[in-house]
Symmetry: C3
Subunit: 200 residues, 3 copies
């Protein structure tokens, strides 16, 4: 079996969950800037799929949302929900923790997919960080906001932590589901602690 056949079913579901959470953060940035629905949909899409798209281009995989009828639709559905609901529903810490979960899932997913495609260890860990962070970086660049990479928060670091654990675990041939769970939990815990305690 090719890497695709083994990993696709699980990774696709993680992709879809991460896509939805990131798409929501994108749509909310557009909403705060009082943009039209089309711009909100654009931000939802770019933020939702940006990281995974850059990862797939770099590792030479087919871009994950091209052949898939659901991913782009999920982004637009999220934009619709954000459009028709009051912004205050989405303020507060809930969205931050959801973003932390998406970041951790993506960091692990991205590095695992890169590993499965034969990428060397260090760049495979980088692919996890790219998958988790690049969508948000593009969102912030296009919106003209200081990008997450420049803000003094434990954001990229949390992604790097999860991705590095994942690559180390996989290279030691530890059971995949164990590696994924531990790495994702570690990345999430670090990011969540940074949110909770205001770590910079």
């Amino acid at each position: 079996m090719t890497p695709d056949q083994i990993l696709t079913p699980i990774l696709d579901w993680l992709d879809l969950a991460g896509v939805a959470v990131f798409a929501l953060t994108g749509a909310l940035v557009a909403a705060r800037l009082n943009q039209t629905f089309v711009t909100m949909a654009f931000f939802a899409l770019v933020t939702g799929v940006g990281g995974g798209t850059v990862r797939d281009l770099l590792i030479g995989a087919p871009v994950f949302w091209m052949q898939d009828p659901w991913v782009a639709s999920v982004c637009f559905g999220v934009a619709l929900i954000a459009w028709f609901t009051p912004q205050r529903w989405w303020e507060g810490d809930g969205i931050e923790y959801a973003d932390a979960a998406g970041l951790a899932a993506y960091a692990v997913l991205g590095s695992a997919k890169a590993f499965a495609f034969g990428v060397a260890l260090v760049p495979a860990a980088v692919m996890g960080v790219v998958t988790g962070c690049v969508g948000g970086i593009i969102r912030d660049l296009v919106a003209g906001r200081p990008s997450i990479i420049m803000r003094p928060e434990l954001y990229v670091t949390a992604a790097a932590f999860g991705a590095t654990l994942c690559v180390i675990g996989l290279s030691l041939r530890i059971e995949q589901t164990v590696v994924w769970s531990v790495a994702a939990l570690a990345g999430f815990t670090l990011r969540a602690a940074a949110i909770r305690f205001g770590w910079a």
Copy 2:
């Protein structure tokens, strides 16, 4: 015959016309910022080929201007023309309507090419929008201007309208030339009306 063999001759000509118009808008942004010729040429190229390049990378097609000796040359020729002619020639609404035509042609071309490469319906429509808008977005980002995606105009919406009509028509197996003409005309009309009546 592969999708390439069927669509290439027609799509290549549309590509070249769209490239020239977009290249001109890029060169003019650089001219307004009093840049050197090299920077103008860079902006002409990035704006001219940016959208189609991102589309080709995403759908897994060879990047359209790599094997083609003409596309990059057309961009540099346009930059030369913009360099040696007075800027006021290019002010006024003419260039705006030409850009509207390029936008509509690219939106249809982009979604049709994605459709021909087996991309699912929703992402295929997105590819039309990407083809039409991404060149301008990169141009504005690099120039430090608020990007078209953030301005309250019917720009992205017009591209989305043309691209969506095109994908719906093709998926209903309506005759290609009919679909292309109707979709491109619809996208152009919406954008032209927005320019004419100042719709926001």
Copy 3:
């Protein structure tokens, strides 16, 4: 022999040297902005590999640092060095001339690799400029600085000069090592003169 087999050994070493110099300029930008180590490492990587990555995606080559265990590690090693040494070590003209050498090497390397992959002449020269300049452009965009493409210096021009000489030489079937040396020296001389005499 495929283009890969002929060119890879030489081009890989040039790549690694250029990567290190560009990575250093990226890390120093982050250092001046008082960023964390993770952000410095991110900037080192993006600046070091950005240009070559975009080139490889455009010409359809596997991205050069994916299968290679060294490239990303070199970037992170450079970030470590920049982190633990005083910034004033890296101020002054030394780093500027090193960057000029990297720019010239990359411009030649990029256009030669594109030429070897069958890219047409004009886009092959463009690939040289892309390889030399895109890393710095992404660095400046993400850092929120005016990008090199907008500054009135002979920077892009020097890359274009070296890349154009290289493509002309290769298309005339002149001996490769001669073409590379002359083109890289010409590009470096132009950039160095611009630094030395403050040409704009």
